[in-house]
């Protein structure tokens, strides 16, 4: 313990970690996020039933209220069952998997793609830079949901297609952030000093400027994961997202829609609650990261 607290006090990284956890809400967000990720990764080991395996599902058990026993008597459905007789808790954990896969996958790909485009834009400058930034402005100005609906209508449903759509819609955020940061960093003294050493420009860009662009990109990426998950859920709800065979949280909510009017609230309620908790956790962590990583806000 002594060594850990010494690290937290002395090293730069340690101080950042300590700063991060100094906020009660951020710590809460971090713990929730950790639980969500563990549940999603180890889904088969933490759920009583595989909701995709039809042999494990009993249609007689459909639409049971939370806390009901299964008809075979060996299982308690703590969160109830859905229209097909799936244990809702298991379905939520497996749904989290799809939602996180889509959110993290699209954020990673668009982060890499967007950063490359942004850095390239800053590196070349001139007319190419102006053109790229005009395209970025256009992408950011247009309502995301309408573009997503159109692209998905064009390429069809599916997890890969949803990720692809989100990448198309989100790279512009990273491109703008990376370009802006790269332009700021390239004015700094440390870059001046390497310039004097006759190192090729692309090596300065990748070796010196890029690492210093990482903090803001990380913040954008964290918040974008939340946005991507929400957008995926919305698209699936509207029937244009993931297919029925791979239900994400959004699709689970959508499936519960038809039972809502007959007062069977849990089929929509619990998946939504899981979605809400995940996104709140991501936003709390993202907000705190922004404060910790921004040197201007530090006292």
């Amino acid at each position: 313990m002594g060594r850990i607290s010494a690290w937290l006090e002395r090293s730069h990284r340690g101080r950042m970690v300590a700063d991060f956890f100094s906020s009660w809400t951020a710590t809460f967000g971090f713990i929730v996020l950790l639980i969500v990720v563990i549940l999603a990764v180890f889904a088969p080991f933490v759920t009583p039933q595989n909701p995709y395996d039809l042999t494990q599902i009993d249609v007689l058990d459909s639409r049971l209220a939370p806390g009901s026993e299964s008809s075979s008597g060996d299982l308690t459905y703590w969160l109830g069952t859905d229209g097909q007789g799936r244990d809702l808790y298991s379905a939520i954990v497996y749904g989290l998997r799809i939602s996180l896969l889509v959110g993290v996958g699209s954020a990673l790909i668009s982060a890499v793609l967007g950063s490359v485009i942004g850095l390239f834009s800053a590196y070349v400058g001139g007319k190419v830079d102006a053109l790229i930034m005009r395209v970025v402005d256009l992408m950011l100005a247009f309502p995301t949901i309408l573009m997503a609906l159109l692209i998905l209508a064009y390429i069809g449903k599916g997890v890969t297609n949803v990720i692809l759509t989100l990448v198309v819609l989100e790279w512009a955020y990273y491109a703008r952030t990376a370009r802006g940061q790269a332009l700021v960093e390239s004015q700094r003294e440390y870059v001046e000093s390497v310039r004097g050493q006759a190192i090729p420009r692309w090596r300065i860009l990748l070796g010196h400027i890029l690492p210093n662009c990482m903090p803001p990109l990380l913040v954008v990426a964290t918040l974008q994961v939340g946005r991507a998950i929400t957008l995926e859920a919305t698209l699936s709800f509207l029937g244009l997202g993931v297919p029925i065979t791979e239900p994400s949280l959004g699709l689970l909510i959508s499936n519960g829609y038809q039972y809502l009017l007959s007062n069977e609230f849990w089929i929509s309620f619990f998946p939504g609650l899981a979605l809400l908790l995940t996104i709140v956790a991501i936003n709390l962590v993202g907000d705190q990261l922004r404060d910790v990583l921004n040197p201007r806000l530090q006292k």
Binding site: F142, I145, L150, T234, L238, L260, L276
Partner: protein
Amino acid sequence: MAAWLFHRIGQACLVMFAMSLIVFFGLHAIGNPVDILISEDMNQEERAEAIAKLGLDQPLTHQYVAFVKGAATGNLGKSFVYGIDAVELIFQRLPATVELAVVALLIAIVVGVPLGLFAGLKPDNWFSKLSMAGSILGFSLPVFWLGLMFIMVFSVQLGWLPASGRGETRELFGIAWSWLTANGWRHLILPAITLALFKISLVMRLTRAGVREIVHQDHVRFAKAKGLSSVRVVVRHVLRNTMIPLVTVLGLELGSTIAYAVVTETIFSWPGAGKLILDSINSLDRPVVVAYLLVVVFIFVTLNLIVDVLYKLLDPRVRLQGAK
């Protein structure tokens, strides 16, 4: 100013042209509307006649040229499904969407500005902290789920408010509005709050950030030192200066609220333009989709322009920069 305005309008036309091109050819690639629109028991001749009537027998490039020619005169083609003018169809539905968006935005201002003002003036008060934490919740809530939960609580459980439709409408300037009747208001309130929640958080945070920045500025301290009452200082000196960024963001938000109404309208079966576009995408009704997107881009660009002009008029500092 005139040159700047001219430049901006040219840019807007370019965006709309690019948009129409992408959507026109994109939708063609998705599928052939003929398959959906023409019933199977038609014979070969009837089919050919129906296709020719829709202009779908021409090569795609010809169809596009015909579309652009029509668009120049304000005619964006007839809906394949409804058989009436696409623009007319959209403008029949648009008032319902605009009504919803405007009411949502008003709710956001009425609730968000006071909360943000309080949080900005007294940042350490427990209520401020609570409302700021609440704003994160507002940002995170999936809109469609919130709508469903509202229906469950207020329509199914309590039976207070209706879950779908516009209710009674009354005509004003030849357009049917829900906000003119009590029954219409009862239908309006749930979808409007659903759509407003995200904006309440946004307005709250913007107001708070603006207030926090302004209270420490010299002119506010001077006003206090002069012995003005604190209400007067807040209203005349703090709130007025906070309004500038708020007007900018809200102007732009109105456009995106209209676009995002797709989700809310679907949940509450609100017969607006959002629901129309979703149905039209599904039935490959190309003229309606293209026309709707052009209308939305037009609204966006116009709002953008109005906001920029307003900004220049409201803030003398920006005006000076523009004159350089």
